[in-house]
């Protein structure tokens, strides 16, 4: 259901600590409906864990994207911003930004796949 190799947040984001890439979960995309727009931070921006760094919009709703870990934005998936509907088709395969983490200790505060599945029951 939720990829084992990812970690998760209470705000329905996933992060692949191996690459620093993150996105929103399948649960999130279901809640939002058809996604129409993404607002993502720029490369080089510093983010703090739990701080808002962007947003996802559907026709009738906006959801904030929070930084799952503190760090610097290393990459932004411009292709996804062009086709945000990909998130509805494959949320866990649609990465938004890659973060170079500032504090490896923060990883321990993230949820694993089983804990996240509990959350979304």
């Amino acid at each position: 259901m939720y990829p084992q190799t990812y970690k998760y947040t209470n705000d329905h984001e996933w992060i692949d600590l191996a690459t620093g890439r993150m996105g929103v979960t399948d649960y999130a995309q279901k809640q939002l409906g058809d996604i129409v727009f993404l607002e993502l931070p720029e490369v080089g921006k510093t983010v703090k864990k739990g701080e808002q760094m962007g947003s996802v919009e559907s026709v009738k709703a906006v959801s904030e994207i929070f930084a799952p870990v503190s760090g610097t934005i290393a990459e932004v998936n411009a292709g996804l911003a062009e086709k945000p509907e990909s998130i509805n088709l494959d949320a866990h395969g649609s990465w938004m930004v890659a973060i170079t983490p500032a504090d490896p200790a923060e990883a321990q505060e993230l949820l694993d796949a089983a804990q996240y599945a509990e959350l979304t029951k």
Binding site: G33, D34, I35, V36, F37, E57, S58, V59, K60, P84, E85
Partner: protein, 490 residues
């Protein structure tokens, strides 16, 4: 290649060079030289994208467009929190009298005594209706009135205490304009969770109310159609800590002639003339959002204010503590005039009866539909009632499907998905304009839909099918916005 259907075409596509739909007065003066008259490089080369049509063509085009719309004059319009009551035609006739329609707003006061008299009189009447005698007619819509009221609160606090405070408390059931208005006024918003019975929780409020809080913005009756019966305690809690109570008057139709916000602790509120006071919605405005308040707010009113002097009515601009202007000129006079006419036509008894009938009608709808639809708060409501789609979810049917099917059965849907605290909210406000027969027709339609949800949900999912257009792909429209017509290339 198929010929496009002219009925689907926009004015730009119907345009034919050389046609005209206007006529001008005689050119009884000599032409003035453009050279020197218009600075170099600022002469327009043309209006290429504007159409050329005859009057007949224009009239047919816009007449056709109108037939694709549904208005209050078409049928019942049970939009909760919108108060879509009948718009009296005598008001339209009055607004078109030359002595109203053609008066310039900057005409000298002595040449506008009739207009000033109406503004002055309406202010008095709104003050009597609400129990809040200090009135501004300047704001152009409800949200505008909210912002104005919040600005007046801010100014009053600065004048009183030297600082405006930081926070505003707003219930989670509030209309979106409330937090956005507070924010535009420089305040941070703290949300107050409603209690299980749908009302503002006095205990939650008491905990949240601190000297940092400028005030509470509440709606009464609230957006669930319930009267906040603990309003006196609520107001007391806010006042005790030096805060002020702002009331969103969108639901005033339940209270006119029955209770006055000034009597139950409200300090300042706005009214929606395009809701409670019958002025037409116009397909998205114009509206008018007067602010009414206690006497303590008088110095802070927007400038100018209509005052009675020995020499007649005047616009008073000498207001040193005013928050300033919120709009050019004096307010939406055309709506002020219509509201004035409405109140004069009803008189005090008629006003009270309209609130009574509005509340009666909404409760009747609840009584008739409470078995077929879930009523989250199943007790006596005021002028509107909320249902949810919970029962219909069982068959995969949502509020949206119910709304769209109602269209096929000849009704405008109720307000849907608001307030946010009810899942799949369907908010019905019949208003007093509907007679028993129309209410019964609406109820029958809703019962039919509940039945169809069980037996034939597909019918609902495909709805509406009887209209010019069916459901739209709004996602694509938002992803790749096309906000104007452009001539096709090639």
């Amino acid at each position: 290649m198929t010929t496009p259907d002219h009925r689907d075409q926009l004015i730009f596509e119907l345009s034919t060079p050389g046609r005209k739909g206007y006529s001008l007065p005689a050119h009884d003066v000599p032409p003035a030289p453009l050279e020197g008259g218009v600075p170099d490089g600022l002469l327009r080369s043309g209006l290429a994208g504007f159409p050329e049509m005859t009057e007949v063509g224009l009239v047919r085009h816009f007449t056709r467009l109108s037939t694709w719309n549904y208005g209050v004059d078409t049928g019942m319009y049970p939009l909760g929190s919108c108060t879509m009551k009948y718009n009296p035609k005598v008001n339209e006739a009055a607004a078109r009298m030359r002595g109203f329609a053609e008066v310039h707003p900057l005409a000298p006061d002595e040449a506008a005594q009739g207009a000033l008299a109406i503004m002055h009189a309406l202010a008095g009447m709104l003050g009597e209706i609400t129990g809040l005698p200090t009135v501004s007619l300047q704001p152009a819509a409800g949200a505008h009135g909210e912002l104005t009221g919040m600005m007046m609160i801010r100014k009053r606090l600065i004048t009183r205490d030297g600082h405006p405070r930081k926070l505003v408390l707003i219930p989670d059931s509030a209309h979106g304009t409330n937090p956005s208005s507070a924010h535009l006024c420089g305040y941070q918003v703290r949300e107050i969770k409603s209690c299980a019975r749908g009302n503002l929780s006095v205990s939650v409020l008491a905990e949240a109310m601190t000297p940092e809080v400028a005030g509470l913005m509440l709606t009464n009756p609230n957006t669930l159609g319930m009267f906040e019966d603990e309003i006196c305690d609520t107001a007391r809690i806010v006042h005790e800590k030096g805060g002020l109570v702002y009331c969103d008057g969108a639901n005033m139709n339940a209270l006119i002639g029955k209770a006055r916000p000034g009597d139950f602790g409200v300090d300042i509120m706005h009214l929606n003339l395009h809701k409670t006071f019958s002025t037409p919605h116009g397909g998205g405005g114009p509206g008018s959002g007067p602010v009414v308040a206690t006497r303590e707010f008088e110095p802070f009113l927007p400038t100018p204010v209509v005052v009675a002097t020995r020499d007649g009515l005047r616009l008073d601009y000498d207001r040193p503590l005013s928050i300033g202007r919120v709009k050019a000129f004096h307010g939406n006079f055309g709506m002020i005039l219509r509201a004035y006419a409405y109140i004069r036509a009803l008189g005090p008894k008629g006003i009270r009866e309209s609130a009574e009938n509005a509340v009666l009608n909404a409760n009747y709808v609840r009584a008739r539909l409470r078995d077929a639809y879930e009523v989250p708060y199943d007790r006596v409501n005021m002028h509107e009632v909320i249902f949810s789609d919970h029962k219909q979810n069982e068959y995969g049917v949502t509020t949206l499907d119910i709304a769209k099917r109602l269209i096929d059965l000849g009704f405008h849907p109720p307000t849907i998905y608001f307030p946010l605290i009810v899942h799949g909210a369907l908010m019905v406000e019949p208003t007093e304009s509907e007679g028993l027969d129309e209410l019964d027709r609406f109820v029958e339609a809703m019962l039919q839909i509940a039945e169809e949800a069980r037996t034939n949900p597909d019918l609902l999912k495909k709805a509406p099918v009887t209209t010019r257009r069916s459901r739209f792909d709004e996602a694509t429209a938002a992803r790749k916005p096309i906000l104007k017509w452009t001539r096709p290339v090639g």
